[in-house]
Symmetry: C2
Subunit: 200 residues, 2 copies
Amino acid sequence: MPRTGRRPGETGTRERIAEAARRLFAERGFDRTSVRAVAAEAGVDPALVHHYFGTKQRLFIEAVDFPIDAVRALETLAVDDAERVGERLVRFALQLWDDPVVLPRLLGVLRSAVTDPQAAALLARLFTRQGPIQLLRALEADQPDLRAELVGTQLVGLAVARHVLRVEPLASADHETIVAAVGPTMQRYLTGDLGRTRSS
Amino acid sequence: MPRTGRRPGETGTRERIAEAARRLFAERGFDRTSVRAVAAEAGVDPALVHHYFGTKQRLFIEAVDFPIDAVRALETLAVDDAERVGERLVRFALQLWDDPVVLPRLLGVLRSAVTDPQAAALLARLFTRQGPIQLLRALEADQPDLRAELVGTQLVGLAVARHVLRVEPLASADHETIVAAVGPTMQRYLTGDLGRTRSS
């Protein structure tokens, strides 16, 4: 058991544990990741993980928490040409998920949300309430909750297909191919008429 | 299948185990379901589960396998008015997921696919290759693989939102509200132009 210099290294140790947890949650999901495994990955005693984070649940929440700037950036998508906000949202999401800071957090949440209720609540918040809903308020859309959730369904499905199931050709398609294919979907969910089916 | 050597009651026991497994996989996902728990739920010895199904993996595959009729029915959606095939696909999926025979299988796959590779392969096949791809071949669409996967992303996201995360108002929205909102998305993915963003 390596015992790092406690006082100067405290922040470093905490962050090392969080990073180890993030890696394991991303690879294995919540269920298959134990506190013991996180401790081993970080090279610390399991007691230290509990000391810093309490339960595995709390460790998970902190480890996968998205950088706040990424979420706030969503609001800025509403400025400019409102007819292209759907494209901008898809492009933003694709770039965000490819970010090495964000991808392990995304995978950790996706891999955990389907079985763990707290991870599910986090995913629901991330993909609907916390993210798109701000954008919809800025767009002053009707039925913002339903719209935010429709946007969330397409984003979750896209993230799962590209980063978890990795189905081809979708997983390797370049960003602009996906923006062209999915952008109009987002545009309809954000600003289109949801009450009528297409007349064409 | 040869029936030699089958004792009376064998089929009943096998099916009781499969049903118990289906219930537990649907509630807890693959990781949190043990062969021992399935045996207890079915009221049989764990050795009997191994006798009939071998590994937990094989038990999973058999327990969540979709009724073949449901998958084949997808192909029939291509007949009639091609401009409304998107609506028909959404309506078909919503009805299918509400079917008490199908829902536990769907939940079992969704709750397992994000961490278990075999379940992931099954989900990928169900939502793309096995299902929509037949419909796309019938429609003679270009880029059938990409289209099938785009359809899959929207279906997976919708199923997760309604049946796993249960976000409101989407989870309680009636079928026709969702058909109106998501039908045009499906229509674009099935028959629309994916290479250009909307000009309007």
